[in-house]
């Protein structure tokens, strides 16, 4: 067992352990942050396998963008920020069975398919560059690459329609577009946030907003 083997086993343990903590933690925000650890360990595994470009894409897209998207999703809901006791789903057992079965199928397929396929990693150094990836992407996998752009387009339009009810035209506008904050609205910072904040203030004037604005003024 070489040092690289040892490192990749340790990274795998970290990735799986953090993945278990994502679903086991009692705090929603911590779940997103454990996901960062899991994705980071996965990026480390890619590095050990000399897939440098994929590793840094993993850091850029998953650790950078996807986790930001998840944190945004948490911020948009009324999820509490501290410990919540009602996170356990009633489908826990079923979910566990499905997860273990999926993992079993994947591991069995990989082990049976690649049991004797050994590639000495030392010979593969440099094969994970963006040049190699670009070669296989634009010679063999052009159609999936173009299909990805359609996927991104569909998701972008979907996000716009769902998040801007004044554009989609579905449902009553003020209630859906401007949900009443649970405790107090965010003290808006920056010009854009303040402009949006003032637009919101005109829609629903109440005492809480007045308190916040006076505090903003004091801070200035």
């Amino acid at each position: 067992m070489t040092a690289a083997d040892l490192v990749i086993v340790l990274l795998g343990v970290v990735a799986v352990g953090a993945g278990v903590l994502v679903v086991a933690t009692r705090q929603l925000v911590h779940a997103a942050l454990w996901l960062v650890v899991s994705f980071g360990a996965l990026a480390g595994s890619y590095l050990v396998l000399t897939a440098e470009f994929v590793a840094w894409v993993q850091v850029l897209i998953y650790v950078g963008a996807v986790v930001v998207l998840l944190l945004f999703g948490i911020m948009l809901t009324r999820a509490p920020i501290g410990r919540s006791e009602d996170l356990d789903s009633g489908n826990r057992i079923v979910a566990l069975v499905v997860a273990v079965a999926t993992a079993g199928v994947l591991v069995t397929t990989l082990v049976r398919g690649f049991r004797s396929a050994y590639v000495p990693i030392k010979d593969r150094v440099g094969s994970g560059s963006s040049h190699t990836l670009g070669g296989s992407l634009f010679q063999t996998w052009v159609l999936p690459f173009e299909a990805l752009s359609v996927l991104l387009l569909a998701a972008l339009i979907g996000a716009i329609v769902l998040s801007r009810t004044d554009i989609g035209g579905a449902g009553p506008e003020p209630e859906e577009e401007e949900p009443e904050p649970r405790r107090r609205p965010a003290a808006p910072r920056g010009t854009v946030a303040r402009r949006l904040g003032t637009a919101r203030r005109r829609a629903t004037p109440d005492d809480e907003d007045t308190i916040v604005l006076s505090r903003v003024d004091e801070e200035i």
């Binding site: 070669g135 173009e146 752009s149 359609v150 972008l156 996000a159 716009i160 801007r164 401007e178 107090r184």
Partner: protein, 123 residues
């Protein structure tokens, strides 16, 4: 520190040194400072005013588009790197050049839609 793993070992060592400096600074601070907390000292500092309510606030769903636009641009940029290394090489030529512009055109259509609907109103 030569070879593929050696260079990344340098990166790991650099991260370890950085973590040691930050952790050491906090540890030295904790060891040297006096520790006499009062409830007033333990409240969140908000420019001298007592904090009101909690630190949690729900934000508006319209900001989700901005986060998602960031994802779109990140994925977009990531595919430009491998493309940039190969499109002028032998055996690729104008077809590869055009493929990337088809890809960009799809995403530009999404951006044009967003522009038309006024989502990009902050620019």
């Amino acid at each position: 520190m030569h070879g593929y793993y050696g260079t990344y070992l340098t990166v790991v060592v650099l991260f370890a040194i950085g973590a040691a400096i930050v952790g050491g600074a906090f540890l030295a601070n904790r060891a040297l400072r006096p520790h006499r907390p009062t409830p007033e000292k333990l409240t969140t500092y908000e420019c001298g005013v007592d904090p009101v309510g909690e630190g949690w606030a729900q934000s508006y769903v319209r900001y989700y588009v901005f986060a998602y636009l960031y994802v779109v641009f990140a994925v977009d940029a990531v595919f430009l790197f491998p493309w940039a290394t190969v499109f002028s090489a032998k055996g690729y030529g104008y077809v590869t050049l055009g493929e990337m512009f088809v890809f960009l055109a799809f995403i530009a259509a999404g951006l044009a839609y967003a522009w038309k609907k006024g989502v990009l109103g902050w620019v």
